[in-house]
């Protein structure tokens, strides 16, 4: 019976009333094997994974067949599920911070997972908790066991989650987007840890992700889901090398190439943006406390028509820099010149607005929910009196057409649009005043992969047609490299490396840039062996 699959789904359906979230999925997962479930948001991949652990929402109607270790689990009583969960199936979720009980010490949370499945003396449980914490590479297990979740960094929290999932020694680990919320270097460390643990313990792993590049490095087999169905499944190498389904091909092609770059124009003209010795200091509390130097002495220039990519991990100060450039944050020291003008001058504000515009990461938040698209697009036209009142609607329709939307969208409200459409509206609004420089603060990181590729392509086309300069901020090196001629790397408020995009991506000089590039999940990772695991101690 050793070839009985650990998990076998046959014709699995999850419905919410009339809505079908998962439809006719058949999958098998063998012991010691890693299966990746890939798809975009709404594809049903997370729901499939949750229902395998019996954690589908109570409103969900399940049908089909789910066999775990040969036993049919559809309609099984809750007590049977409880024995499986934690005991045979461990789970790791996307948001480690929210997934840990904020009011309970970490050691107690792990001990609880062991005690639920093994009748062991207290001392033995405590020993296993510490052993588990050191197995996932956490320094000072004793200290960590006594800590509360909020005292740990995001990467450490995810390590705790993994230790907790493996505490009762399960045969299957379900990892639902375990690295999506993490910085790139931390993501690489967690992936390496998961691969190592899987090999050592002979675990089976169900790895759910939206990111093909991540999946390729870790899974033997992959199943691509779309709209509740598995459109293609097979060995990873085969699916990646020769996708049979057009959707898989689209997904694979959505990793941006370098085609979006524009040959450089005249670099001797007045720079579009010139930042010199910029520093921005925040005070965390009214009563004082340590001052936070979010941006700490940054100088950079962008030539007209040039695209500069700014990469860095969370807290590196890249967003603050962007907000300072458009005047949302007052710099503590240093100068900013937009086409040679000082935006801080009393008359500079409106002039600068015509030259420099911004696209925000959170498209939904940057559009007023009470206004229709045509009202949103009319606002900049009205502020700068760019056209007569009667023509605003036509103008708005032209802007929409430029970003690939139809005039029918003019009367919709933001919540009636998809994420990608919202970001297109935000781009159209920024273009309304015909700016010369566009600041994009992580414009695609909240979007699905295929939508990301579309929005990036849109930005590339607009740049070409309008001769726009671009300050493109992101944490995804690949996306930033696709649209930028030059890349600046930020860390702790400083620019640690700046240079031509290809040079930074392929021959980084500083050790931090090297670490970033090494951590970048790339489709070439499999040829060059498993993902390198940098030092685990400090994440």
């Amino acid at each position: 019976m050793s070839d009985t699959p650990l998990v076998e789904l046959r014709d699995w359906c999850v419905r919410f009333g009339a809505a079908r979230a998962v439809e006719g999925v058949s999958l098998a997962l063998r012991r010691g094997e890693t299966l990746a479930l890939v798809g975009e948001s709404g594809s049903g991949k997370s729901l499939t994974a949750l229902s395998i652990a019996g954690l589908a929402p109570p409103a969900a109607q399940l049908s089909g067949s789910l066999r775990i270790e040969g036993r049919e689990m559809l309609g099984a009583p809750e007590s049977a599920w409880r024995a499986l969960r934690g005991g045979r199936i461990g789970m790791v979720f996307q948001e480690a911070m929210g997934s840990l009980n904020p009011a309970m010490r970490i050691g107690a949370q792990i001990a609880e997972a062991i005690a639920a499945h093994r009748a062991l003396p207290r001392a033995e449980i405590a020993r296993r908790v510490l052993a588990g914490l050191s197995e996932v590479g956490l320094p000072d297990p004793q200290g960590k066991a006594a800590a509360f979740p909020h005292q740990l960094s995001g990467g450490q929290q995810q390590r705790v989650m993994i230790a907790m999932a493996l505490a009762a020694d399960p045969a299957l680990l379900i990892a639902d987007e375990p690295t999506t919320a993490l910085d790139t270097t931390v993501q690489a460390q967690i992936l390496a840890l998961l691969a190592a643990l899987q090999a050592r313990r002979g675990l089976a792993m169900l790895f759910v992700s939206h990111d093909l590049a991540v999946v390729e490095g870790i899974a033997q087999r992959v199943a691509v889901m779309r709209q509740g169905r598995v459109v293609e499944a097979g060995p990873t190498t085969q699916v990646f090398a020769a996708p049979r389904h057009p959707y898989t091909a689209t997904l694979l092609a959505s990793r941006p190439g370098v085609a979006l770059r524009v040959p450089l124009a005249d670099t001797k003209a007045v720079p579009a943006l010139e930042i010199r010795d910029l520093a921005v200091v925040f005070r965390p509390h009214r009563l004082g406390g340590a001052r936070l130097r979010a941006v700490d002495g940054v100088s950079l220039t962008i030539a007209p028509g040039e695209a500069l990519g700014l990469v860095g991990e969370s807290g590196s100060g890249k967003s603050t820099l962007a907000r300072a450039a458009v005047g949302l944050v007052v710099p503590t020291q240093g100068t900013i010149r937009v086409f040679g003008q000082d935006p801080q001058e009393p008359q500079g504000r409106r002039q600068r607005a015509r030259l420099i515009q911004m696209v925000f990461q959170d498209a939904a938040g940057s559009l007023n929910p009470r206004l229709t698209v045509s009202q949103i697009l009319a606002e900049p036209l009205a502020v700068h009196a760019l056209c007569a009142v009667g023509e605003r609607r036509d103008h708005a329709a032209r802007l929409l057409a430029e970003v690939g939307l139809e005039a029918a969208h003019l009367d919709r409200y933001p919540h009636q649009l998809s994420g990608g459409q919202r970001q297109r509206v935000a781009i159209a609004r920024a273009l309304a005043v015909d700016p010369r420089l566009l600041v994009c603060d992580e414009p695609v990181s909240a979007l699905d992969m295929t939508v990301q590729a579309q929005v990036l392509a849109l930005l590339g086309r607009i740049r070409r047609e309008r001769g726009l300069a671009l300050l493109f901020i992101g944490h995804d090196l690949e996306a930033v490299g696709a649209v930028s001629e030059r890349i600046a790397v930020m860390k702790d408020g400083r620019v640690v490396e700046i240079g031509a995009a290809d040079a930074v991506l392929h021959n980084p000089i500083t050790s931090y840039a090297q670490a970033l590039v090494a951590a970048m999940p790339r489709r070439t990772a499999r040829q060059s062996g498993p993902v390198a695991a940098p030092a685990m101690a400090h994440d």
Partner: protein
């Protein structure tokens, strides 16, 4: 910041608030046209000379600042002056009334919290039963029915029409009425909070660990939701004061409410001042305690 420092800061803040309230109360009562002496003079029992003497005796002829300083310093050592109506020290009157009010508040609060927490927890455990509707109903009850309207109705029904023993009613009715009111206020937000917490990611983790439902509710749900109740504590007490005052008068309980009632109708300002201040101090203290308990319950607030 450590816990002790935070507790100290919180204490200092509460003390500052109390001082501010004392000033406000003092100033408000002082701007009243006419003082005790005037109202006594109106009744014709004093001549001009006696008025002046009495004023000097009570310190009413000094300027506002001096008066406040004197009053505040006396109040600090528990001397709130002398009630003109009862001809007894105000502190004595307050001390005599305080136990009744404290007992009423404690009983009502215990009953209300037990009802609210119990009902909310039960409603979360059995969401398909009648219990969630009961939570809604109790909440509407406490919004729509002012406690003293219910009190009047209870007197009419039980004491007047049914002729039941008023002695039992004297304590039972106010406690039940206030308890229902508090229960309605607690149950709804707690129920909502429990419902929200039960969909939280860490509860999903607890289920993924294979824990039993009872353990999840007791160890993971309730402790996190109890901060809600504690945060509500001070506000519930503040909201209860109006009800408690009228309940005492309606049911003839000799507490602070009855004292305030008599003092207001007799324009006995020292007593009014003292009663208001005692209530305010109670609320400030409870708020401070609630803040402290919350910090111990939620490690994230300890910073």
């Amino acid at each position: 910041m450590n816990v002790a420092l935070q507790a100290g800061l919180s204490l200092a803040r509460q003390a500052l608030l109390l001082a501010g309230i004392a000033i406000i109360v003092f100033l408000l009562i002082r701007v009243v046209p006419g003082d005790v002496v005037d109202s006594m003079a109106l009744e014709g029992s004093l001549d001009d000379e006696a008025i002046a003497v009495l004023r000097a005796e009570l310190g009413l002829d000094a300027d506002a600042l001096t008066q406040f300083r004197l009053w505040a310093m006396r109040a600090l050592i528990g001397d709130f002056g002398t009630s003109m109506r009862f001809d007894r020290p105000v502190a004595e009157l307050i001390l005599a009334s305080l136990p009744t009010t404290l007992a009423l508040a404690a009983m009502a609060l215990t009953a209300g919290l037990a009802l609210g927490i119990g009902l909310a927890s039960a409603a979360v455990l059995w969401p398909r039963s009648i219990l969630p509707t009961l939570v809604e109903g109790l909440n509407l009850w406490s919004i729509a029915l002012p406690t003293f309207c219910v009190g009047l109705a209870a007197i009419l029904v039980f004491s007047v029409w049914l002729g039941w023993l008023p002695v039992i009613g004297q304590w039972l009715s106010p406690v039940v009425i206030l308890g229902l009111d508090i229960g309605g206020q607690v149950a709804k937000p707690l129920f909502e909070d429990l419902k929200e917490t039960s969909t939280a990611a860490h509860i999903r983790t607890a289920r993924a660990k294979g824990l039993s439902p009872t353990r999840i509710v007791l160890r993971h749900l309730l402790p996190n939701a109890l901060t809600t109740v504690v945060a509500l504590g001070g506000l519930i007490l503040a909201g209860m004061i109006g009800g408690a005052l009228t309940m005492e008068v309606l049911f003839g309980l000799p507490g602070l409410g009855t004292l305030a009632f008599q003092a207001i109708s007799g324009r006995d300002y020292p007593v009014i001042q003292a009663v208001v201040l005692v209530f305010a101090a109670g609320v400030v203290v409870v708020n401070g305690l609630a803040d402290l308990i919350q910090r111990t319950l939620d490690p994230r607030l300890r910073g």
